[in-house]
């Protein structure tokens, strides 16, 4: 896929269990949206358009996790229809915050909320897309970063590798000249084990990173957990810190389980 292609690549956006925020990120690219709509054919994007152009699609953006039988089947169809499948956001890449059900009795969850639980059909677990189909690229984040989304689309169109780093948030924090909230104020921060991408917003706003982009390339969660204890956090608090939007990733799940056992 590149600029010499004779037809515009077809882009499709699919939603599973999610809040819509990652799809909205594309519509939030107000300055670039019309240019994107000219560079690609937006063939299927229910949140923005009634129009449906049938697949197959060149680029499929998939938001949301798999939580129902129906969706577990639907993702298989989506994979078949998309030449390049990109998962966007923590729900799709990690199972999302709704993966908290994975630690619980989800039948109890359903009964807690719905007076007639029999009408609700849902799976026990919330799982990421990659547990069901092969995924060509992951855009992390809760939500994803608008500039990373545009970078990815530009890169796919140009046939080049996207500049999506996997190192820690600390690089973005220091480049931005933030003062480290953990060292200077003793505020618990997951930055050292979290992947960059957000631009280190939370430390810029005086709070610690809470892990929206999931585990960085080589997260040393054992070491960070020890430091969080030094900062005065309890095992319960540390476990909760890892058990949030990317709770079901291997590294964060392991970290939260270990602290819970402590």
């Amino acid at each position: 896929m590149n600029f010499n292609a004779r037809r515009k690549p077809k882009l499709a956006v699919f939603k599973f269990a999610s809040c819509d925020g990652c799809q909205l990120t594309l519509l939030d690219a107000e300055d670039e949206l019309l240019a994107v709509a000219e560079a690609v054919e937006i063939a299927y994007f229910p949140e923005a358009s009634r129009a449906v152009i049938k697949g197959p699609y060149d680029i499929g953006l998939v938001e949301g996790s798999i939580t129902t039988h129906h969706d577990a089947e639907r993702i298989q169809q989506v994979r078949r229809q998309c030449r390049t499948l990109v998962t966007i956001g923590a729900c799709a890449t990690a199972g999302g915050i709704q993966a908290l059900r994975n630690w619980q009795d989800s039948a109890e969850f359903v009964r807690h909320i719905y007076p007639s639980p029999d009408f609700i059909h849902t799976l026990k677990m919330s799982t990421p897309i990659a547990e069901h189909v092969p995924v060509d690229f992951e855009l992390r984040g809760c939500p994803i970063s608008k500039s990373q989304l545009l970078e990815l689309i530009s890169a796919l169109l140009a046939g080049r590798k996207p500049n999506i780093p996997t190192y820690s948030v600390c690089l973005e924090c220091k480049r931005r000249l933030n003062v480290c909230v953990a060292v200077a104020q003793g505020i618990p921060c997951l930055g050292p084990v979290t992947q960059a991408g957000c631009g280190a917003i939370c430390p810029a706003y005086g709070r610690g990173c809470y892990g929206c982009f999931g585990p960085m390339e080589t997260p040393n969660t054992e070491s960070l957990r020890a430091q969080l204890h030094v900062l005065g956090q309890t095992s319960q608090e540390i476990s909760r810190a890892f058990r949030s939007f990317n709770a079901w990733t291997w590294h964060f799940r392991h970290a939260s389980d270990e602290e819970e056992r402590a």
Binding site: D20, L24, D28, R50, Y114, I201
Partner: protein
């Protein structure tokens, strides 16, 4: 595709609504027999997993209920929890929260009017198609939406799932200079908002009216956002603490979203049309003026005109935003220390789509024991179905695509937080 007896109109996916839903109409013997708005958005079960989380985590978690109105969830949450724990924030924090909400109303209403609703009225599939004929209109709409987003990004840290909102205030507040730097964008946004009112009030509105019970917050001085009593045009006037005494949630077989009703009386409407009908005299001057020029005056009972109400609220939010920017001074105490105690708190704030109610029961350890969240869309669900009951009978002899489009439009009047795409009608006709 005609068969015996029953004509079933199914809209498998509703486009340009946020979430996943479909519409089922059953017509038998030339009469409408059933209407079901099906939400099969997979339930994520926030109320269940909020249990055991610390109250300070709640604003971050509940934001993820909705990517389009995360601020609303954060606002209802912090007000409910602060109510429970006896916290009163600084006046400057109160101002910032209102300003933040202005940003979200602008972004959400602009998104809905231009991307999700206006294309309907003009016969376009979407805003991007509309841009081919009306590029300037769409570009200005994007600038309007961006102004709202810039406000949310400055005050909240980012547009989607803001990070700065905390129980007790904000983790960091902007300087006066930073806030005033947004004035030019908001001034331009106000211009576009006024154009938007003129643009949408010229649409072709079907002459359809219903006898609604409108429900919204009402505040003695201001157009309601974060504070006020819950009122209706049928005499309801209660504090948020009494919400559950007057409203009940029912589960229906065909939907994952619970239906909300006013006890005894049934369905009701929340959202811009309800708000504006109940609080018209609290609108800011330019908004009231724009309403007069558009020929819009309460009570307006035509749900298709909700797009005008939304556009008027765009004017209000820009005007109010400018006023708040002028008077902002950074708070002495951006964020109060909050001590946990065993307590329960309730709050309702006005999300762009309507009343959003939260209740939290907190333990002495600061952990959530119980959470109850009633979104505006579930409160409107039954009302949407009732609208369709009222609308469809007169359409039965129209061509199928037109019935389809009108029904979708009727749903989109409510800007419901569900989303989907269209497929095509399947139709069978019963000749009896």
């Amino acid at each position: 595709m005609s068969r015996t007896g029953t004509r079933t109109i199914k809209v498998d996916y509703l486009a340009r609504v946020e979430g996943e839903g479909s519409l089922y109409l059953k017509i038998q013997g030339g009469r409408l027999r059933d209407v079901q708005l099906k939400i099969f958005e997979p339930p994520r079960m926030f109320e269940a997993f909020l249990r055991g989380r610390h109250f300070s985590e709640v604003p971050d978690i509940v934001a993820r209920i909705c990517g389009i109105c995360p601020v609303a969830y954060q606002m209802s949450a912090v007000h409910a929890i602060e109510g429970a724990l006896g916290i009163a924030v600084d006046p400057a924090v109160r101002l910032l929260r209102r300003l933040l909400y202005c940003g979200e109303w602008i972004e959400s209403h602009a998104l809905h009017v231009f991307f999700l609703h206006a294309p309907d009225f003009l016969g376009y599939q979407d805003a991007l198609e509309m841009a081919r004929d009306h590029r300037a209109v769409v570009e200005r709409a994007l600038a309007l939406k961006k102004a709202g987003n810039q406000l949310v990004a400055l005050l909240g840290g980012r547009e989607i799932h803001p990070v700065a909102v905390a129980v007790g205030g904000f983790y960091k507040t902007p300087s006066r200079k930073e806030v005033r730097a947004l004035r030019p964008a908001l001034e331009q946004a106000l211009e576009v908002a006024l154009e938007t009112v003129r643009f949408v009030s010229g649409f072709d509105f079907p002459p359809f009216e219903q006898d609604y019970e409108f429900v919204a917050l009402s505040h003695p001085q201001e157009y309601p956002m974060n504070e006020g009593r819950i009122v209706s045009n049928r005499g309801l006037d209660v504090d948020a603490a009494e919400y559950e005494d007057h409203f009940a949630e029912h589960q229906v077989r065909h939907s994952h979203a619970l239906h909300s009703v006013i006890r005894v009386r049934g369905s009701y409407m929340v959202g811009p049309l309800a708000r504006i009908n109940l609080n018209f005299d609290r609108l800011t001057p330019a908004a009231r003026q724009a309403a007069a020029e558009a020929g819009f005056a309460p009570p307006c009972r035509n749900p298709f005109r909700s797009i005008v109400a939304r556009a008027l609220e765009l004017v209000f939010a820009c005007e109010e935003g400018l006023r708040l920017i002028e008077s902002y001074e950074p708070p002495a105490r951006p964020r109060l220390e909050v001590e946990p105690r065993a307590a329960t708190g309730q709050a309702a704030t006005e999300a762009p789509r309507g009343l959003l109610y939260h209740r939290y029961q907190i333990g002495a350890d600061g952990l959530i024991r119980l959470a109850k969240i009633v979104p505006p869309t579930s409160q409107n669900q039954k009302r949407i179905e009732d609208d369709l009951w009222g609308l469809v009978p007169a359409l039965l002899d129209r061509p199928e695509p037109e019935i389809l489009w009108k029904c979708e439009q009727a749903v989109r009047n409510y800007d419901p937080c569900i989303s989907c795409a269209t497929h095509f009608l399947r139709l069978t006709v019963d000749r009896e």
